[in-house]
């Protein structure tokens, strides 16, 4: 008897608690930065595309909804010629983001992906690429890689000795 009354009392008290329900869509919920919503492609601090078209996101994707084609600019810098995500298949698992070695592909706190026409769920590179760095403001892959693709010279990257003079016999 007592426990029933106590339960009723606690339930009644909830009438004075702060509401969890919000009036979506007039009011937007707070979503943490690491919420896994819509996928974007970010740019590095220099404003260039971060994606190096390594195909790891496509390989990691359990529903195979990422498809891309690599190409290179005149300096040999590799980037995706096309990059397509079929959001009608995407399960927002975030494995692509985990696989990405350059922080290019990121899931952002935007879940509003409803469409009347399913074909509109297919996002091309122009829909995916944003102008900012996303969650990782500092990282620039090409400054740390060993390749010289117009971003830095050989031996000018982080943790690199200057290029070897192969004719030297010094130890």
């Amino acid at each position: 008897m007592f426990s029933i009354l106590r339960s009723l009392w606690y339930t009644f008290l909830h009438a004075f608690h702060k509401r969890e329900t919000i009036l979506y869509p007039e009011e937007k919920p707070y979503l943490p930065p690491r919420y896994r919503g819509r996928i974007i492609l970010s740019r590095d601090p220099d404003g260039e595309e971060r994606c190096v078209a390594c195909y790891l996101c496509a390989a990691a994707c359990p529903v195979d909804c990422i498809s891309l084609q690599a190409t290179e600019d005149k300096d040999g810098r590799r980037y995706p010629e096309t990059f397509r995500i079929n959001f009608s298949r995407c399960i927002f698992c975030g494995l692509c983001e985990e696989a990405c070695p350059t922080y290019a592909i990121q899931l952002i706190p935007d879940f509003e992906l409803s469409e009347y026409n399913r074909q509109n769920m297919v996002y091309e590179k122009e829909h995916l690429l944003i102008s900012g760095t996303g969650k990782y403001p500092e990282y620039n892959f090409y400054r740390n890689a060993g390749v010289d693709m117009g971003v830095k010279g050989k031996g000018e990257g982080g943790n690199e000795h200057p290029p070897v003079d192969i004719k030297s016999i010094m130890p």
Partner: protein, 906 residues
Amino acid sequence: MMVKIQIDGTYYDVKPGKNLLETCLALGIDVPHFCYHGAMGSVGACRLCAVKKFRDPCDQKGRIIMSCMEPVNEGLIVSVNDPDAKMFRAAILESLMINHPHDCPVCDEGGECHLQDMLVMTGHNYRRFDFKKRTHFNQYLGPFISHEMNRCIQCYRCVRFYDDYTGGKDLAVFGSHDHLYFGRGEDGILESEFSGNLVEVCPTGVFTDKTLKEHYTRKWDLSNTPSVCVHCSIGCNTIAGERYGKLRRIMSRYNGAVNGYFLCDRGRFGYQFVNVENRIGEAQIRTSKNSNPVEATPDMIASACAEALSGSKKIAGIGSPRASLEANFALQKLVGKENFFAGVSRTEHTLAKTAIDILQHEAIHSPSLKEIEKADAILILGEDLTNTAPMAALAVRQAARNKGIEVAGNSGIPPWNDYAVRLKAQDVKSPIIMANPFSAKLDEIAEKTYRAAYSDIARVGFAVAALINDGAPGVKGLSKEQLSMAQHIANALKEAKNPMVITGTHGGSEDMVHAAANIAMALFLHGKEGALSIVFPECNSMGLGMMDGKPFEDLAGLPADSTCDTLVILENDLYRRADQSLIDDLLERCKNVIVLDHLITGTTLKSDILLPVGTFAESEGTLVNNEGRAQRFYRVFPAEGTVIESWRQLKELMIFSGNHESASWENFDHVAQAMSDSIPAFAKIKGHMPGADFRILNEKIKRQTMRFSGRTAMNAQFSVSEPKSPVDPDSPLAFSMEGANETPPSSLVTNYWTPGWNSNNAMNFYLDEPNGSMKGGDPGFRLLETAATKHILFFAPVTGAFTPEAGEWEIVPAYQIFGSEELSSQGPAVAERIPEPFIIMNRRDAEEAGVKEHEMIDLTLTRSSLQVKLKIDDNIPAGVAGLSTGLPGMPFLKLPESGRVKNSKK
């Protein structure tokens, strides 16, 4: 005889004489390694294959040894999984990784990287080294290979392959300690014809495929299909990879009897012709001879073809040595046996027929490339193998080492101990004798070279046969040098255990082929095998020669009214095979010319009805290589638009012509079956190849890997609903990542992969032992049946000695690896390597003619004249000149013939 060894407590019966590493790999035991390669043996350089060896069963401590340097003996006790050995291997890898850059995402090797595999296998997953890395500048290495030296781990495989295995001169190692640099002395094109193999040999991404870079795709995303190279008569096995409907790359497919681990650059990079702009995409019709062709709908084509074929009194067909057997057979069915022409010139046709007859002779054995590698004396008669059959030249280079391996063996050094063998052998080589009109790359390994016109080479050949066996007809009037040369060759061949003769039809000399046959038969009577290898001009020259056909000059030579109303030309550019006037006249005379081809050529421009057909990548078929081995290639991807396979197109034409025999050819097996039934030479094909209904546990064999990505997005721009994956009714392969998980039969291997091995080194697990045969036997089977007669009939020499005439030169063909082959020269990468037309002359001859080296000179032949650049070769005999042949833009030339030269400026 087998010996018993113990590995990690398990006993195995293994072959003695091998090293422990290859034994482990043959047993399927994962032993990490870098510098060891099946074809190149071991040098013990990288220290990664460390295992622990125990003295006897009581030895608990053991000691670490390198498994690649440890011979397998009775009672050997080792442990691969010993904790000390594991720690040692991880430490080696960690030190190799010190300078390895953070490149995997942009490295073309990623996903099929031997280094990545070894990292995972040894357990060195995280880098602890946090200091600076050494860096290197890269070099430009030509249109085939990219260079990224930062990634090097100093295993020396590249120089061992390039210099030691293929005899290359321009790749070397420079510098010392951790500054080692593998590259050329200066930027420039890698000279070796086998440079493409560096892509597969390099365990990291130092050397990568530059043609793949243009449309880069990871290994796991390629849809792979077993194929056969179409760029020469050797028939190397390849794996062709496709993505998004385009052919992306060619990798080598192991065939122990043919190409082993390797491919030549023409085979590897010649694939680009499949993707060029010059492809014929749509059917075209021309209403009258003078109007322009217009694209036609299927209905228009059907009615035009039906009209042309059913309204004709006589239909003739010209086949092709670059089309499959089945396509040629379908054409023969369409036009009838008496109207089927082989699509090669009379000279080539006669030579092919002669060669095939000879190879079918009881006394003659047509050796595989593997058997050529085993030879200990080789006479090469008038064939520049490096340019006409590069992989055969590579096999000859290995054969040259056999004497040295034997010398080392006498001192107890096993053949796999590569460095020790080379050190002991020094310059000891098996006798390789090169008889060729001009200098060839193989001269450098030749014990003796003989320079003469083809007729003299043939005469010396006949003399050699006569010296080996009295029954062979001799040659009169040989000079003293020729006699001593013949004596020397005869002695070398007689003394050898496995002597071999290699010749070819490129020289256009029947006498030379006869001479080679005489030598082989004489050797047979001398108690040897009678091995004779004949190199043919094109990928299916031999197969076409085995069919009943006539040279097309027979058709062109007929009177105008009885030639034919309708001419069907299958995948053949006739302008490459005869004088322009002859072909113009022939095509003009035929009311309807129907051409089936995939690239725009001079012949397709003259067609009334042009039907697009698939290249090797969009069709399936059987090719017969120069050994007589029938090998099947499969469709790599479904063709776009109206492009279909040649045999299917011809099947349709048969129905249009009112011949409904082909109506029952529903898939490739039916046409292959019909061919085996109607042509006795191909009777064996039926039942030898896995048919379209072949299944493993009810499943087809998958072309795609299990990691294949983008399935639900790659076509989503057209429709968000995924299309059904294309069906392949013609083969047991599926355009899918779903299929049997078991290893398929050797001829159907689509991808080399085994747990832990994503790189091409997984190949070793598909073999009975490294550098051995594929498990279940090497792909393909020999069609050549030796005739039952034991009767040996020697050929008699026909032509007399060559006598130079003043002011005249005998122009002999100098085929070029890049350029002389029709299809590969269409690709941009190979096109970059095509030389400009040149002529090779003796210095004295050049002075006599008043022409200078590197200058353009006018060459006048009987029916044509052209401008070529002069190259001096002091070895070419007086009165003989070599002319680059078959290069794009050069007219057809019937060589050898006599010609005159003069300075262009005068």
